[in-house]
């Protein structure tokens, strides 16, 4: 472990590689986490099927690839399909759990996650898949730092998508309605907002965002029917760390998590890469607890 840290100081350009890789993948984490924050904040539904939506998006991109659709072009198609899928799920299931307690919505979304996993397994088999973008790799610092063009492109797309969603939430009527509903559903209803429709739209939008994230994942990592779980965990870690309704926080936490994973993989070894994610969650929760304890003292 010390050797590895030593290595980072001896060859500083390695840091650049790790930071870049962390940044690129972190941007995708941000997308899925933002979708979760949206559903959580507006509907108070903790969507455990978040990672499965991501993987499903990846498989749709892969499937379109078999019809010679380039994965980047498939991104809008997948987003639309996943939007529809989210809407159907809302009408069929989520509608009935929005007003229920925490455990009902956890159970329902966990059930959705299992069904999606098994359906993907039935449809595509348990083998890992990748969507090939066909882009090359650029190297810097005499080959010590390499950037796969697709990683950069997917980073740019993730930024664009996130920006698009933010503008949509700020400017559009629907975005305003969503924000109003999240502040006070009853007041929003009184003011003539169709909250039912807002909920359906929010859940569907989350599906679309996750689907888009999944397309990016399939181009830079690999997908497999049961790989959704780590993505779900990451989303929860990011949203918990950032706090609800804190969009800059989600972005920072997402990018930070991406880099933290890369560094822990380098310093501690690949076996600790995901342990780091969960470890960070514990640290964040403890930190929150301490903060709240202090807060309580002030009130007293």
């Amino acid at each position: 472990m010390l050797d590895n840290i030593n290595l980072l100081t001896l060859a500083p350009s390695l840091n650049v590689q790790l930071l870049l890789d962390g940044l690129f993948i972190g941007a995708i984490f941000v997308l899925a986490a933002y979708g979760l924050a949206l559903v959580w904040g507006v509907m108070n539904v903790k969507n455990l099927a978040q990672g499965e939506f991501v993987i499903m998006g990846g498989y749709l991109a892969w499937h379109l690839g078999t019809y010679n659709v380039h994965p980047i072009l498939s991104l809008p198609i997948v987003a639309i399909l996943m939007f529809g899928f989210g809407w159907v799920l809302y009408v069929a299931i989520i509608k009935y759990v929005v007003t229920r307690d925490l455990f009902t919505s956890l159970l329902a979304t966990f059930g959705i996650a299992l069904v999606v996993q098994q359906a993907l397994n039935l449809a595509y088999g348990p083998e890992v898949r990748t969507a090939e973008s066909g882009f090359g790799t650029r190297s810097f610092f005499g080959g010590l730092v390499t950037v796969a063009e697709i990683k950069f492109i997917s980073f740019a797309l993730a930024v664009l998508l996130a920006a698009g969603v933010i503008v949509f939430m700020k400017k559009s009527r629907m975005g305003q309605a969503i924000r109003a509903t999240s502040q006070d559903p009853r007041a929003a209803k009184v003011m003539g907002i169709n909250t039912e429709k807002v909920y359906a739209f929010t859940y569907a939008l989350n599906g679309a965002i996750c689907g888009a994230a999944g397309v990016l994942v399939s181009m830079i990592w690999v997908i497999q029917p049961f790989y959704g779980v780590p993505h779900s965990i990451r989303s929860f870690v990011i949203v918990t760390a950032a706090g609800l309704g804190n969009l800059p926080g989600v972005i920072l936490a997402g990018l930070g998590l991406g880099m933290a994973e890369q560094y822990s993989g380098f310093v501690l070894g690949a076996q600790f890469q995901q342990a780091t994610v969960v470890g960070l969650l514990v640290v964040v929760l403890v930190w929150r607890q301490i903060q709240m304890a202090q807060h309580r003292q002030v009130v007293k």
């Binding site: 190297s139 990592w221 997908i223 993989g265």
Partner: protein, 417 residues
């Protein structure tokens, strides 16, 4: 893609028929191990579930060998010629079910000659059952070292065990080092293995051989089962520049590694990994996969041959002609066929259906098959057949080690970019 779908539906249909047959058998009265002129072998094999595609390959292998033996005079015991028949149950790819079904085969159906299931996990569940009833089992699809350190007396495996998978890559690296005027103990090795039973077995074999040569480990990372990113580990590899990079993590490990080695332009002179073919890395990553060393149990280009199937190439041809939908014959099928050949020869040598005598005859096996030489250690694993190492050269898999069977010289350093 369309072809793939066809293939799967066809295999699916076979699976359905297999299940139906098993269901029919379940209702049939208990059958003796030898009835009239038929010797019954039994197997619980994965016809559905996660191992189903490889399970079907194995079943095809068993069936082809039984058919071939029946066509060429059957099994001669006590001056009489018997036909071989294999009965199957579907274990649904779950070890607990395998154990149950073996109880049923042995107790209820009175089948006393067992062919193994598919996969190490199910074989590990099967072995205690056959051991309990003193019924010999010849298995072809369980390579885990956990099968051969329990002192089982009735378990025999025709395939090479998982520790042997990449050990030959280590000796190859040592040879290359000597050729270049370096000492094998100067060879620096990076190890990247998934944290699961199979991959850790492979790792143990690699470590044993490294110790023999006194090689140094510079990286020893383990991938969690659902990790889809090893770029941090590979960045470390780039910085430390080992002479040999060894990777094993099933198909997903191979895909992840091949993709990220390409993206990060990892330049290691020798890269050895398992599951190259299963993961289709040549099709997916093209020229960047050139030079990878990939172990295999068997290849149709090897110069092995026997009197039943002829050469390995002839087996390959017969298999493709018999079963539709195969573009290349999986080694899983070949080793399954080899297990049936061992049964035939052992029954003839024992010249009896007494399980103890047959067991001793199996233990004394020392034979050559199209799949390779077969000779069992006291632990029951096949010690005669080496693991073959193939290198991807210009998109083709060619045998480069052991040198006795090599069709091409090894390409060093690897050229793939």
């Amino acid at each position: 893609m369309t072809l793939d779908i066809l293939k799967y539906t066809r295999r699916g249909a076979i699976a359905v028929m297999g299940v139906a047959a098993a269901a029919l058998l379940a209702g049939a009265p208990a059958q003796a191990k030898v009835e009239g002129d038929t010797i019954t072998l039994g197997s619980a094999i994965s016809l559905t579930g996660k191992y189903s595609s490889n399970g079907l390959d194995s079943q095809n292998g068993y069936d082809l060998a039984a058919k071939r033996i029946n066509e060429t005079g059957g099994v001669k015991v006590g001056g009489k010629s018997y036909k071989l028949k294999v009965v199957y149950y579907d274990d649904e790819s779950t070890p607990a079910r395998t154990a149950q079904l073996l109880e049923r085969l042995i107790k209820q159906d009175e089948v006393k000659f067992i062919l193994g299931p598919y996969s190490s996990a199910t074989t590990i569940a099967a072995a205690p059952v056959t051991e309990k009833y003193n019924v010999p089992m010849i298995e072809a699809e369980g390579a885990s070292r956990a099968l051969f350190n329990k002192g089982y007396k009735y378990l025999f495996a025709v395939l090479s065990t998982s520790e042997q998978y990449l050990a030959s890559a280590v000796s190859l690296a040592a040879e290359i080092a000597e050729k270049n005027g370096k000492k094998p103990s100067d060879v620096r090795v990076a190890l990247v293995f998934e944290n699961d039973a199979f991959s850790l077995d492979v790792r143990a074999g690699v470590l044993d051989d490294m110790k023999k040569f006194g090689m140094q480990t510079v990286i020893d990372d383990k991938m969690p089962t659902d990790l889809s990113d090893i770029s941090a580990t590979l960045t470390k590899v780039k910085a430390l520049k080992p002479d040999l990079l060894v990777i094993s993590g099933h198909n997903k490990g191979a895909v992840t590694a091949a993709r990220q080695i390409k993206e990060l332009q990892v330049d290691v002179p020798i890269i050895a990994m398992t599951h190259c073919e299963g993961a289709k890395i040549v099709q997916q990553f093209g020229a960047s996969a050139d030079g990878y060393l990939c172990p295999t149990q068997w290849a149709e280009t090897l110069s092995y041959s026997d009197k039943y199937f002829g050469s390995a190439a002839e087996y390959d041809k017969l298999f493709k002609a018999t079963f539709e939908g195969y573009t290349n014959v999986p080694y899983q099928a070949a080793q399954a066929s080899a297990a049936v050949l061992v049964w035939k020869e052992a029954l003839e040598r024992a010249n009896s259906f007494d399980t103890a005598k047959v067991r001793d005859a199996i233990a004394a096996t020392d034979t050559m098959t199209f799949y390779g030489p077969i000779k069992f250690s006291p632990a029951g694993n096949n010690v005669a057949k080496p693991m073959v190492l193939r290198q991807i050269q210009n998109g083709e898999y060619v045998v480069v080690a052991p040198s006795k069977y090599a069709s091409h010289p090894v390409e060093w350093p690897r050229k793939g970019k």
